[in-house]
């Protein structure tokens, strides 16, 4: 009895000053559900790819892998800034967190601009939404990813508005960071499945 009671009190003591998850719980529900939906999309993509592997591989040749990798670096850099901003907010440094979140937003805008440039390049080369099944998936998956990113910019704008008032609300910054990391991770999966899978 004494041993289990002691270890339980130890556990309680450890968790006493800690929150369950960083940021808002509902945001984690959102992130997990979103991954479930994207997993369904990826499975459907892989099944359709298995039916016409050569066709998908031929179409894939026309994607610009360099642009894909540059965009990955841009997004991961942004994720690093927002993680750093969460640390700054935990320390109560609203001014530092504010500039870091703004840098993350900048990375988001660069990503979106590069994505629009990439699409226009593909469209000029004659690869549109209906060219073949691969490009159907390409535009849909990168398109809904971009919608997620635009939502992310709106979320970070809410964080910026709060930080501007000098409030280092670390829960809010963590919530924004959680969402932004999801945008980042989804992009890495899209890069792997669409651009790289051979």
């Amino acid at each position: 009895m004494s041993l289990s009671a002691a270890s339980e009190s130890h556990v309680e003591e450890f968790w006493a000053d800690k929150e369950d998850v960083p940021g808002e719980k509902a945001m984690w529900l959102f992130v997990l559900g979103d991954f479930l939906i994207f997993s369904a999309y990826f499975v459907i993509y892989l099944v359709q790819r298995a039916w016409d592997k050569q066709g998908f591989l031929d179409a894939q040749q026309h994607l610009d892998i360099n642009l894909g990798i540059i965009n990955t670096i841009v997004l991961i850099t942004g994720s690093w800034f927002v993680a750093w901003a969460a640390l700054a907010a935990r320390e109560g440094n609203a001014a530092k967190a504010l500039s870091l979140v703004r840098l993350t937003m900048l990375s988001g805008f660069i990503f979106a601009a590069l994505k629009v440039f990439e699409w226009s390049k593909e469209i000029k080369a004659g690869y549109t939404f209906t060219s073949n099944d691969f490009f159907g998936f390409y535009y849909v998956l990168t398109g809904i990813h971009l919608i997620h990113l635009v939502f992310g910019l709106a979320v970070l704008q809410i964080v910026v508005a709060r930080l501007k008032k000098g409030v280092a609300d670390h829960r809010l910054v963590e919530t924004g960071a959680t969402y932004w990391h999801m945008v980042d991770l989804l992009w890495v999966l899209i890069l792997a499945f669409l651009y790289m899978l051979r």
Binding site: A26, G33, D34, I37, G136, V140, G143, I144
Partner: protein, 253 residues
């Protein structure tokens, strides 16, 4: 409770006691019309008209004529019922509007939600119904015309999910910005799933087969699965919101 919340939940003292509970009771009665509507909706689309899950877009003209001839009568019965009950869907919109108006930023968002939802119902329910009824009225008409009506039915029915995207934006904004805690925040996030997946209904206008066609794995199945989750979520939290409001609520205009 914040000052704003207090202002919104002011009790109407001049109302006699026996009417004070009436608002909640009325709303609960109206609320149960919505699951009723969806039950009829399921009966019409799945059992009577056989259009859910949707038949393939790649059917030949002969198969489409066969479809109208085989199911003509049940199509007529089903969609006539649908035409009569479609308005019930707006009870959901009405109840949501009443409670969205209680949120701190609610007034404009509530009306934006209401009218955007209404825009989606016309192509989503009435247009496919009328196109099917027109096909079933004269199944002997020329095959090209029947194929057109068949395409129109499913393009409007599945593709119109894209119309609801504009309704979810004010809904999500109203919930996330709300300080009165009228709706739970998780519901806003569930609405984002629904918004994003309904974007992906729009490719049905471009594809005749594969995952993005109107019977496709992404445009129909994933979309419908998320829509069912969302529809259950909106009903569950609306029911809770109705029952949690103070009796004798005075609603903002």
């Amino acid at each position: 409770m914040t000052a704003q919340a207090a202002a919104l939940t002011t009790e109407v003292t001049s109302v006699p006691d026996r009417y004070r509970e009436a608002t909640i009771r009325d709303q609960v009665w109206l609320f149960w019309c919505i699951p009723g509507f969806f039950a009829v909706f399921g009966l019409v689309f799945v059992v009577l008209a056989r259009v859910m899950p949707p038949p393939a877009p790649g059917k030949s003209s002969a198969e489409i004529i066969e479809f109208f001839q085989a199911h003509g009568f049940t199509i007529q019965i089903g969609f006539v019922i649908l035409i009569i009950v479609t308005g019930l869907f707006n009870i959901l919109n009405g109840l949501m509007t009443v409670h969205l108006k209680r949120t701190t930023h609610g007034k404009t968002f509530a009306y934006a939600f209401l009218f955007a939802q209404t825009v989606g119902v016309t192509p989503g329910l009435l247009l496919p119904g009328v196109a099917m009824l027109a096909g079933a009225l004269r199944p002997e008409r020329s095959p090209e015309l029947l194929v057109t009506l068949y395409d129109m039915t499913f393009l409007t029915f599945v593709g119109s999910l894209g119309c609801f995207v504009t309704a979810y934006i004010p809904l999500i904004a109203a919930i996330l910005l709300d300080k009165n805690k009228i709706f739970p925040r998780w519901f806003a996030y569930v609405s984002i799933w629904n918004l994003v997946t309904e974007f992906v209904a729009v490719p049905v206008f471009f594809f005749r087969d594969g995952a993005f066609a109107w019977d496709g794995a992404i445009s129909f199945w994933v979309d419908t699965a998320v829509f069912v989750v969302w529809q259950n979520a909106i009903l569950i939290q609306l029911f809770r919101t109705i029952n949690r409001q103070p009796p004798g609520m005075a609603y903002p205009d």
